[in-house]
Amino acid sequence: MCLGIPGQIVAITDEGRLLAMAEVSGVRREVNVACVAEGALEALVGQWALIHVGFAMSLIDEDEAAKTLEALRDLGEAQETLEQMAAGAAALEERA
């Protein structure tokens, strides 16, 4: 359920109705920013939000995104090391 996609807020279009322009991969759509407008609206410009049915529902936390990606990288590297060790062990066995 609940198709949502990250979009960047590029401009505030209607301050009174809390509307802003969001951009997803070069496609623009006006969205309501009520759910993410805690401070000054202008501060939203440049920020990324999760867009669902014409509403910016949640600001994307860039630090958390980076942490998730880092965990993935660590896992990949750990496996590579294991593979290299396994390959090294196999080579040793062959020689013996």
Partner: protein, 340 residues
């Protein structure tokens, strides 16, 4: 200039002077050669070569809005029929054009549509040789409907048919997918999305001729109109009785098309195109076919997207970017934007 009205009225369909003025000023005087009659009389010379075949096709065109970035209904009406002929291996020669016009349609709009058709026909090397107009009351149709029929000739010995596709044959498309579909979705306005994308609408007669010259064993081609690449591939798989395997990583897609699909929950494989074909050629001719395509503006981004296989006969499968597999089925109905 006898035609003073700004908009088409029912009088323009009444068979009197108003109708004659409309037809002469907007249509016959613009189409070449001037002085077009109800019935076209054409030299049959091209058709009399022993072994040559006559190709004959017709298609009706409706699109909302009538004008959109990259084209209009007139351009689609010419390109669509030219491409229908071309993918069957025919050299397109003549078109007919019939218009159903809703009362209230701007005459300036009609002129623009006709001008596009003339320009596009010239580029495609075909002649619009006969036509017709009817006017219907408001609500009787949506603006303008255009029907074109096309006649072409298939040179002796040339056979392009889906049944000829064999396992191992390579599938090539002539460019990025879904531009037309994504453009129309945005241009309709009801979804309030916008982007810089333009329709891919183009005539592919010259391109197909060059591909067949470079890859004489080319098996089959399909234009990727309604239902997109997915539908065309399914038709071919079924007709050929073999499977087709494509690779997600190789699909050429513009960022804006991906964005449109992500926002609306659509699959680009099913988006309509108006200037895209998939061509199946034996592997040894794939490079020649690609090179031939890339010499054309509308083939610059030509790329191999997959091949026919002996497994899963009649079915299209896609290797996902992660190495998984997914069946690419025919659509049950129209693709609708979704929220879930």
């Amino acid at each position: 200039m006898a035609l003073r009205d700004e908009r088409v009225t029912l009088a323009h369909g009444g068979g009197g002077k108003a109708m004659r003025d409309l037809i002469e000023e907007v249509f016959t005087s613009v189409f070449q050669p001037p002085g077009m009659e109800d019935q076209a009389r054409l030299s049959a010379e091209a058709l009399t070569e022993p072994g040559a075949k006559l190709a004959f096709t017709t298609d009706s065109f409706v699109v909302t809005p009538l004008e959109f970035p990259g084209g209009d209904i007139g351009k689609i009406a010419v390109c669509g029929t030219v491409n229908d002929l071309a993918v069957g291996g025919a050299r397109p020669l003549w078109l007919s054009a019939a218009f159903i016009i809703e009362e209230g349609t701007e005459i300036a709009l009609l002129r623009r549509i006709v001008a596009t058709m003339v320009r596009e026909a010239e580029a495609a090397g075909v002649r619009i040789v006969t036509g017709d107009t009817k006017v219907v009351g408001r609500g009787g149709c949506d603006g303008v409907f255009v029907t074109t029929a096309g006649v072409g000739v298939i040179p002796p010995g040339r056979v392009m048919a889906a049944e000829r596709v064999r396992p191992g044959d390579v599938a090539i498309v002539n460019g990025v997918l879904g531009d037309h579909g994504a453009t129309i979705l945005a241009a309709r306005g009801d979804l309030s999305i916008s982007s810089a994308i333009k329709s891919d609408c183009a005539s592919l007669g010259h391109l197909m001729e060059a591909v067949i010259a470079a890859a004489p064993q080319a098996r089959a081609a399909r234009d990727l109109t309604r239902g997109g690449l997915a539908s065309a591939l399914n038709e071919i798989a079924e007709a050929a009785g073999c499977g087709i395997e494509i690779s997600e990583a190789d699909l050429p897609l513009r960022a804006e098309v991906v964005g449109t699909c992500e926002i609306l929950g659509l699959d680009p494989l099913y988006l309509a195109n108006e200037g895209r074909v998939v061509v199946f050629v034996p592997p040894e001719e794939a490079q020649a076919a690609l090179t031939a395509m890339r010499a054309f503006a509308e083939g610059r981004n030509a790329v191999v997207i997959g091949q026919a296989v002996s497994a899963h006969a009649g079915q299209v499968r896609m290797k996902t970017a992660l190495g998984g597999a997914r069946i690419v089925d025919m659509l049950v109905g129209e693709q609708l934007p979704r929220i879930c």
